[in-house]
């Protein structure tokens, strides 16, 4: 029953798209469309939750649409239900946020029709149960999000970002298409049920993995294929950026899990090495890129790349454990990855909503032009702080829980016999730890430079607090972050059916330990009690406050900050995003980005200002994408001369083809 309800919701969303085109002229369009999608996603969320929590049996339905002899198969099982919850929760938050944020949209006609289509696309991808429907909704999702990315087409960068995005999305889809071609075999059995039964040969399975890594990896943002993500996500309106970063990348992870864990048959031992290596590099590169940015939304987009790396580390470990039959360890790693999927969709959407609120009230995305917003937008600042703390994996919040579980999974891996893993897993653990610390630095920079300090531009000085819908959405997500951080046991029990379905085993039930502590493997080994930790923090903080309030003096005097006696310390003397990242850039950037600083001091007596130029190169773009583009350009130039030949020369072409074919004929048989 839930499946038919969810499909009805998807159909309703699809129907909303043309309706939006018709109604987009009238001012009521924005609340109408976003309100409608809010309701529809709420219903769909409820249905998905019911199916996940009730651990209901998988239910499938076939519609006469799609490939003529196959029909369109849709199926909801535990895995699909979980990702549906992630999609619908993100969509619900984004629609709620958009009710307020959408009013500022300059060209609603270009955003409203594609928003519900985008939601419907994501829902259908998660439910699809045959290769054609899966790829149709996958590419439809990319197409509608491309339209949203180029909605502000007056800015040339957005159009370029949209172009690169669509190109990479099509590249990913074609890779997935090849993977499904393999899994479907010669006689074209495109149904997932048929694929599960017909296990492909080892080589086909390996090829399917590599193609799934390329296809789903490019959509999720694994490092060599991530270049489009930091261009496309910031270009879209903020609620769509939140959806793309928080939710669409998760649909890509779903695609990878569905193909590799479900369809591609038993994994080989080296699969996990490939996934773990890629994931480790993605984690660190993502956060190092983020540290170099001073555009708030680009920083968040790059940071999505890092979190995707963490998720794929969990998946890689699960693959490794599954190969050697360590089901419980595999379940732990897999649940850690799924929990991080859920957590990331929460706090990344929250942060993008915050960035959207800042963009709305100041019209600025560049952190160098912001500052001191905590005074003008206190509530947004508070909730953005919770988001930053969550993403930096600070204890009482949810980011820490999934990272802690991933660390526990890494600590289980010495029992893996393969030598490759014995050397790779500690290195990946070190990269994960390094990226966690760098993430904290990155978000101190993001929050400090944007919200704290003094306003650097007049625009930041007069910013107004955002509207109540946006705040409602942000507070909803912040409270969820706290809830997952405090009661992780509840959410892990909810994930048990998913890992049971995919891996055949799940983590021990979390209800046993006292005070709802989280015990991943065994009581003696390790446990973490989010609730108790939170209570302790509040108690000791409160105790200190009461003691000081009663004992110490409560006199307080405002005075100008100490600035070594300078008469008027202008806001420019504050630390900016680039200067904050300077030490870390010098430590890591000089290697990873070939970062060079060139200071140019005018001769004494010259009043010209000194100038510091920092050059950062995106080595991946220079090494991989620039040569390809150049290659295509050269080939196009060379072939272009064929357009300007004379008639005689064209006839020569015809003549040569004829002679060659006759020669082939003569020689062949």
């Amino acid at each position: 029953m839930t499946l038919t309800l969810v499909l009805a919701c998807a159909a309703a969303l699809l129907a909303l798209a043309p309706a939006a085109v018709i109604v987009s002229r009238s001012p009521a369009a924005t609340p109408l469309i976003y309100g409608a999608s809010l309701i529809v996603t709420a219903i769909s969320l409820a249905a998905a939750l019911a199916h996940l929590l009730g651990a209901a049996a998988p239910f499938s339905v076939t519609l006469p649409v799609g490939l003529p002899w196959l029909g369109a198969h849709f199926r909801i099982d535990a895995l699909a239900a979980f990702f549906l919850v992630v999609v619908d929760l993100g969509a619900f938050g984004a629609s709620l946020f958009a009710l307020g944020y959408g009013a500022h949209e300059t060209a609603p006609g270009r955003v409203l029709p594609f928003y519900p289509a985008f939601l419907a696309g994501m829902t259908l991808v998660v439910l699809a149960d045959d290769a054609f429907t899966f790829l149709l909704s996958w590419e439809f999702m990319s197409l509608s999000s491309w339209a949203l990315v180029v909605s502000h087409h007056r800015v040339p960068d957005n159009v370029r970002a949209g172009y690169i995005y669509l190109l990479m999305a099509s590249f990913g889809t074609l890779a997935l298409l090849l993977a499904f071609g393999l899994l479907a075999g010669v006689d074209g059995l495109y149904g997932f049920a048929q694929m599960r039964v017909a296990h492909p040969s080892a080589t086909f399975g390996a090829l399917a993995l590599i193609l799934a890594l390329i296809g789903a990896g490019s959509k999720a943002g694994l490092v060599p294929l991530h270049v489009w993500l930091p261009l496309a996500h910031p270009a879209a309106p903020s609620h769509v950026s939140a959806l793309m970063s928080g939710v669409m990348t998760k649909v890509a992870v779903y695609g990878f899990v569905r193909i590799v864990f479900d369809l591609a048959g038993p994994p080989a031992w080296w699969w996990s090495i490939l996934v773990l290596a890629l994931a480790g590099v993605t984690t660190v590169m993502g956060v190092l890129y983020a540290l170099m940015q001073h555009d708030l939304k680009r920083l968040l987009a790059y940071h999505t790349v890092e979190n995707i790396g963490i998720i794929f580390i969990g998946l890689g470990l699960a693959l490794a454990f599954e190969v050697y039959g360590m089901t419980f360890a595999a379940a732990l790693a897999f649940t850690a990855a799924l929990l991080h999927v859920f957590n990331h969709s929460l706090f990344k959407s929250l942060l993008f909503f915050g960035a959207g609120a800042v963009l709305n009230s100041t019209g600025e995305r560049d952190m160098e032009h912001l500052g001191g917003l905590i005074h003008r937008m206190p509530r947004t600042a508070f909730v953005f702080l919770i988001g930053c703390a969550a993403i930096s994996a600070l204890p009482p919040l949810n980011g820490f829980v999934s990272e802690w579980l991933t660390f526990q999974a890494i600590l289980l891996s010495p029992q893996l016999p393969s030598w490759g893993l014995k050397l790779l897993v500690p290195a990946v653990g070190a990269l994960l730890a390094l990226s966690a610390a760098l993430a904290a630095a990155c978000f101190v920079k993001a929050y400090g430079v944007t919200f704290l300090g003094r306003p650097r531009t007049p625009v930041a000085a007069v910013a107004a607090e955002t509207d109540r819908f946006s705040l409602a959405a942000m507070f909803l997500l912040a409270s969820l972050c706290l809830l997952v951080g405090i009661l992780p046991g509840l959410f892990i029990n909810a994930l048990a059916p998913v890992s049971a379905m995919v891996l055949g085993g799940h983590m021990p039930a979390q209800t046993g330990a006292q005070w709802l502590a989280l015990v991943p493997i065994a009581e003696s080994r390790s446990s973490y009690d989010g609730l108790l930790v939170f209570v302790f923090m509040v108690l000791s903080g409160g105790l200190a406050a009461i003691a000081i309030h009663r004992l110490a003096s409560d006199r307080l005097r405002r005075a100008p900050a100490w600035d070594c006696g300078y008469p008027d310390a202008s806001p420019a003397t504050q630390y900016t995003a680039m200067s904050f990242a300077q030490p870390i850039r010098r430590v890591f950037g000089s290697v990873v980005f070939a970062a060079r600083e060139h200071g140019e001091m005018p001769p004494p007596g010259d009043v010209r200002p000194a100038r510091l130029t920092v050059t950062i190169h995106d080595l991946i773009w220079d090494a991989l994408y620039a040569p390809i583009a150049a290659g295509v350009g050269i080939a196009a130039d060379r072939l272009n001369s064929l357009q300007f030949l004379t008639i005689r020369q064209f006839l020569t072409l015809v003549f040569c083809t004829l002679v060659i074919l006759l020669l082939v004929l003569a020689i062949w048989s």
């Binding site: 357009q643 006839l651 003569a666």
Partner: protein, 220 residues
Amino acid sequence: MSSIDFDVAHLLAGSLVLFSFLELYQDRLYALLNIYALHALVLAASVAWQAFVQDAPHLYVTAFIALVFKAIVIPVVLHRIIVRLGIHREIETVVGVGLTMLAGIGLVALSMVVMLRVTPGADPLAREDLAFALSVVLLGLLMMITRRNAVSQVVGFMSLENGLVLAATGAKGMPLVVEISIAFSILIAFIVIGIFLFRIRERFDTVDVGVLDRFRGDRR
């Protein structure tokens, strides 16, 4: 098919290939036109002979068309065009005559090899006939691509068309032969008028910018 019929048809087809070779050899326009007239004459003879052998009266119509239209009318008209356009000087060939002849021989060899693999079951005349027809077609095409001069290219096309008529008449009992040869004649008429109408000067592709090539669309 008595052997005498076979020998005469074989001889005529062979001489058609010979004339194609002669056309390749020419480097002056008038001579080329005369050789082409002979080429058409031999074709007419061969078609007439086929008509006599297969006692198919409609082939006489094709033979008559080949004789009057191709052997007489077209060369005269082209002759006058050459005088009007004043291009009766040398024919600039793209490749030396020696190399073109070598290529021609290669093409004839290729068509022999390709055609002889056909099982002897089909009566030998059809197989020999097709081999010669294929050679004439290929030589005609070779002529078109090794000449810069518009008129010589048209002559190449017409000799290619003669090869086709030879093949068509060789195929005993093939319907629509007459209609096809008429269709081709109209085609050639269009070409000749085309040349005259567009006042194509010296050549299609000129080293110095020719009339047409300056206007190729989508300039680089």
